[in-house]
């Protein structure tokens, strides 16, 4: 059993590798705890929670029409609460329990055996489980962008809850919990496949199953407050340091580099989208700049512990352009209604990032991972992405169909016109 405080281990190729071994029931050895690493991961946990509430809530909330703003905020907030309980009950153990190559066993259901003294590497395991929880919160929350403005609140709870347990947690186990993708050598530092491809594909499927919003695409559906969306995007940017640099699970050089490439990729993607739009439409839009930033954040996520500053510029710039095309031209051409571009940005950006990680992680290109050649690694990255896409698509489709039968997915047309705030919650976002 490898001890987690060996230096090379902290810089290991997969951010969460340590956990697989160390999350086994273990006697307390608080001497192995590093207060600096612990300090950083407590903070990172706060940052990633902050990404969902209020970060993502505001980003998405600003983009919908006034009559639906509360519904979006409420969905993010309720997801945060619901995933917390489900994670404690079963999500954590499915993801990080010992188990087999496909899912964890139930040895850690209800966080059994995770006391204040159990360690995961150099940090308390209870802290590790909470850090991971924040990922299990934001991933289903990302999906809601695809079906915003038309799904029933009850159906949304059922879908995101079951999705987290049955889709997210197994994929998390594959990649970070000692499952088959981890063993195959797939590189996913902070969640390109687990989080972004996974959520993006689920969003696309949900958008297709639910159908378009009434009036789409002919009616203008302008964001009711881009001001809020800019605030939300800014919070996502800042919080993403917790996401990516936190995935080092330590306060060390890998964390520092993960933070740096996150910042650099995001800067590059923001500029890329902005200039692409400026050239194409004559003006750079604010919505473009902030969406570009999110694209850059998404794309660097799987790569963040493995690439250097130059790789970050490349990944950022490419993802900015590709997502610009996918969220505008492609979406318009294909005609599905991914309301807030959950698929167009997270799905597509996650895929771009997962594949480019296989390229720019190479030491020859300024990366820091030991990989079996760019071609070989690309193939592994492709397998990881394809498996996630397939599992997420099929699984999400089945869940949606079952819930549709059970309670109905979509609000009535009249309720959609009135808005979800009044019809689902008897409240309004603003009473000026």
């Amino acid at each position: 059993m490898i001890s987690s405080h060996l230096p090379f281990f902290k810089e290991a190729r997969t951010g969460f590798l340590a956990l697989f071994f160390l999350s086994l029931p273990s006697v307390s050895h608080a001497e192995g705890l590093d207060s600096g690493d612990t300090a950083w991961i407590i903070t990172a946990t706060a940052l990633v929670l902050f990404m969902t509430i209020p970060g993502l809530a505001l980003f998405y909330g600003g983009l919908v029409r006034t009559k639906n703003v509360l519904s979006v905020l409420m969905q993010c907030f309720a997801i945060t609460a619901l995933m917390t309980i489900l994670w404690v009950v079963a999500g954590y153990t499915i993801s990080f329990g010992e188990g087999n190559a496909f899912m964890g066993n139930f040895s850690k259901a209800f966080l059994a055996g995770v006391g204040p003294d159990s360690l995961s590497g150099t940090i308390p395991e209870i802290l590790f489980s909470m850090f991971q929880l924040t990922f299990a919160i934001i991933t289903p929350a990302l999906i809601i962008g695809a079906f915003a403005e038309r799904m029933k609140f009850s159906a949304m709870l059922l879908f995101t809850g079951s999705w987290m347990l049955l889709i997210y947690s197994p994929v998390c186990h594959w990649v970070w919990g000692g499952g088959w993708l981890m063993n195959m050598g797939a590189l996913d530092f902070a969640g390109g496949t687990v989080v972004h491809i996974n959520a993006g594909i689920a969003g696309l499927v949900a958008a297709l199953v639910l159908g378009k919003r009434k009036g789409y695409p002919n009616t203008m559906m302008m964001p009711h407050s881009l001001t809020l969306s800019v605030v939300g995007a800014s919070m996502l940017w800042v919080g993403w340091f917790g996401f990516n640099a936190g995935s080092a699970l330590a306060a060390n050089g890998t964390a520092g580099m993960a933070l740096a490439v996150t910042q650099i990729s995001t800067g590059a993607a923001t500029l890329a989208w902005m200039f692409a739009e400026w050239i194409r439409h004559g003006k750079p839009s604010v919505l473009g700049a902030i969406t570009g930033a999110v694209a850059g954040l998404v794309a660097i996520t799987p790569a963040s512990g493995f690439v250097g500053p130059m790789g970050a510029i490349a990944i950022g710039a490419i993802s900015g352009i590709v997502c610009f095309i996918s969220a505008t031209t492609v979406k318009r051409a294909l005609g599905y209604d991914d309301s807030l571009d959950a698929f167009g940005v997270h799905g597509v950006g996650g895929l771009v990032g997962a594949l480019l990680t296989g390229i720019f992680a190479a030491p020859a290109l300024g990366g820091y991972a030991e990989i079996p050649g760019i071609g070989g690694q690309l193939w592994i990255q492709f397998i990881g992405s394809a498996a996630t896409i397939a599992y997420s698509a099929v699984g999400s489709f089945i869940l949606l169909k079952i819930i549709d039968k059970a309670v109905g997915l979509r609000v009535s047309e009249e309720d959609e016109v009135t808005g979800l705030d009044i019809t689902q919650h008897d409240e309004k976002g603003y009473n000026y």
């Binding site: 009036g215 016109v417 009044i422 008897d426 409240e427 309004k428």
Partner: protein, 112 residues
């Protein structure tokens, strides 16, 4: 000249605007209002208590038209705004004594 005040559903503004433009109305003024008629409002919740909200968001469209366009304008609004459902709205027709275009000082039907 006539001053026509129409209270319509928020989603119908574009249709009404087009219908009016179609018959040659070249200007109009709109504002957000709340109202009720036969259509009742909704309930809002606050700290466990339910409050009845009588008023429903509507759009008020005001157009000044020449007498000979008045009937046509009313019909245009009515058919563009109508869905046959409660809450479709109302049209009110007032007599307009004078209209002035500020920029040029023109008055009467030339100002419309």
């Amino acid at each position: 000249m006539k001053y026509i005040i129409s209270i319509i559903k928020p989603g119908k503004l574009d249709d009404v605007r087009e219908a009016l433009s179609g018959i040659g109305v070249t200007g109009m003024t709109v504002s957000e209002v709340k109202g009720f008629g036969r259509q009742k409002g909704h309930t809002e919740l606050y700290r466990g208590a339910e409050y009845a909200i009588d008023f429903i968001p509507k759009i008020k469209v005001e157009v000044a038209v020449d007498d000979n366009l008045a009937d046509e304008a009313v019909r245009a609004v009515a058919s563009a705004a109508g869905t046959g459902k409660i809450g479709d709205g109302k049209i009110f027709l007032l007599n307009l004594q004078e209209a002035i275009r500020i920029r040029t000082g023109e008055s009467g039907s030339e100002a419309l």
